[in-house]
């Protein structure tokens, strides 16, 4: 057994371990949102004088929160933690030691591998780089002729490699489904625990709402933003832009409308049903359109879609509808993330 120093709990190692295990919040008291130090005098609900120091307050708050979570979710896995004493389990100690050592080794190995790779990379844009083989040459030389898109980056991602872009749109959809599963607060029934929890999660009660200046400004600005977003989506094959960036701008326009006018007005035209239908229809249309292209291409048929004159809006075959689909999916995803993180639902 090693010799313990005096005042071991305040040594640097113990302070670091306390911070790492989450018992101490270094930012407590220096956060930006400062709460006034003087509170109201102790109310009639509690007999003795209220907790005086911040550490006591924190402990009381942790205790209260633990009690609430125990009500809702059941007893904790480590019953020793309820009393606040440190847990002396041999498996945990060994695991913590091994974990620290392994994590340091892993980080060092990854850093070394990255640095070594970066040093040995070929110069940027060199003519004999492995990336400049016959594939980009084909894209650059016959991109305009085969796809009809002046911006042949868009021609590449929505014509040559449209399947990958389909995967990306699906990833956006899956991501918002996962956030929905994790964050959604179900409609509350008579059950009191869930109602208490829902009420505590609802922090929008305290926000300032109906700011007149913001509403008047949003009245003018939201149409501008939406029109600009539509412009970016439609001009994907002529100038840099396309579905992804245009969808982001459209989503931010919707978020501005939501912030200015509140959830009730936005739910008049954008509910969960609308979200579901729009994303499903967009992805299904993308799938069907590209299936048609695969079918005709694989069987050496002529796809009947005209390429048009390069430089016009209605050109480059299927790229324009696919841009619109991708833009719609991205817009719905951005709006869904925002409302899910703010409200727990749509």
């Amino acid at each position: 057994m090693s010799r313990l120093k005096e005042n071991y709990e305040n040594s640097r190692y113990r302070r670091f371990m306390r911070w790492m295990n989450g018992e101490v919040d270094l930012l407590d008291g220096v956060t930006d949102v400062r709460i006034p130090e003087e509170t109201e005098p102790a109310p009639a609900g509690h007999g003795a004088a209220g907790p005086v120091s911040s550490a006591d307050k924190r402990r009381a708050a942790l205790e209260a929160r633990r009690k609430e979570s125990e009500e809702i979710f059941g007893p904790e896995i480590w019953p020793q933690a309820a009393s606040g004493e440190p847990i002396f389990d041999r498996r945990l100690t060994v695991f913590r030691g091994v974990y620290s050592v392994m994590s340091v080794i892993l980080c060092a190995v990854i850093i070394w591998v990255f640095l070594w790779t970066t040093v040995h990379l070929p110069p940027f844009g060199g003519a004999d780089n492995p990336a400049n083989n016959e594939v980009p040459r084909r894209y650059i030389e016959s991109g305009l002729a085969e796809t009809g898109a002046v911006n042949f980056v868009t021609g590449m991602i929505l014509d040559y490699r449209a399947f990958d872009t389909f995967g990306e749109s699906c990833v956006l959809f899956i991501a918002s489904c996962c956030v929905l599963v994790l964050l959604r607060i179900d409609p509350v029934d008579e059950h009191s625990r869930a109602r208490v929890r829902k009420q505590q999660e609802n922090d929008r009660v305290f926000e300032p709402k109906n700011d007149v200046i913001l509403q008047k400004a949003a009245f003018i600005l939201v149409p501008l933003i939406l029109i600009f977003g539509i412009y970016i989506v439609l001009n994907g094959h002529l100038s840099p832009g396309g579905g992804f960036s245009g969808g982001a701008v459209l989503g931010s326009g919707l978020i501005l409308y939501l912030n200015a006018f509140g959830f009730q007005k936005t739910e008049r035209f954008f509910t969960e049903k609308v979200y579901r239908r729009v994303t499903l229809c967009a992805l299904t249309f993308y799938c069907l359109a590209k299936s048609y292209s695969f079918f005709t291409g694989a069987n050496h048929l002529e796809s009947g879609i005209p390429l048009g004159t390069p430089g016009a809006i209605l050109s480059s075959g299927l790229i324009l509808p696919l841009n619109i689909c991708v833009g719609l999916v991205v817009m719905c995803t951005m709006y869904a993330f925002y409302t899910l993180f703010r409200k727990g639902g749509m």
Partner: protein, 153 residues
């Protein structure tokens, strides 16, 4: 002086004027001590700085699609940045503890008539700060009053 040089001088003048306003804005935002004063300085950069820099760039470009887009940038900024300044000022008024050090100018009609006696015009001298009302209580009242007023409409 050929036309090219005239255009260069005009564009350089406007650009340097815009940069001067932007330097003033950043300098002011760093030197002021209260957040509400900093909003004043930052707003100057947001409006005048962008205006002159964009005008200079538009002169450099001539009449083209880019100049139109830069003009749209100016338009958007002049509509949007006063609103963001208002939101920041509201945040400051609602969350700052030491706001009461700024003197609150408030003259009720009765106080005005009481203070001035007779024969005073309606929109009288409003530059006297009410020194008794500065302090945390007034800050609390003014903060929540602003919140209530803003939330009512």
């Amino acid at each position: 002086m050929t036309g090219g040089w005239i255009r260069f001088l005009a564009a350089a003048g406007l650009l340097l004027l815009g940069l001067f306003f932007e330097v003033l804005a950043v300098f002011g935002a760093n030197r002021f001590k209260k957040a509400l004063n900093r909003i004043h300085a930052a707003a100057m950069g947001d409006t005048l700085g962008i205006l002159f820099v964009s005008l200079g760039l538009m002169v450099m470009r001539g009449f083209s699609m880019d100049s139109l887009k830069l003009f749209l940038v100016i338009l958007f900024f002049w509509l949007a940045s006063p609103v963001s300044g208002h939101m920041i000022a509201r945040l400051e008024a609602m969350t700052n503890q030491n706001l009461g050090e700024i003197a609150v100018i408030r003259m009720e009609k009765e106080d005005r008539e009481k203070a001035a006696g007779s024969g005073r015009p309606g929109g009288g001298d409003e530059s006297l700060p009410d020194a008794a009302e500065t302090g945390p209580e007034e800050k609390g009242k003014s903060g929540s009053g602003k919140g209530r007023k803003g939330a009512e409409k």
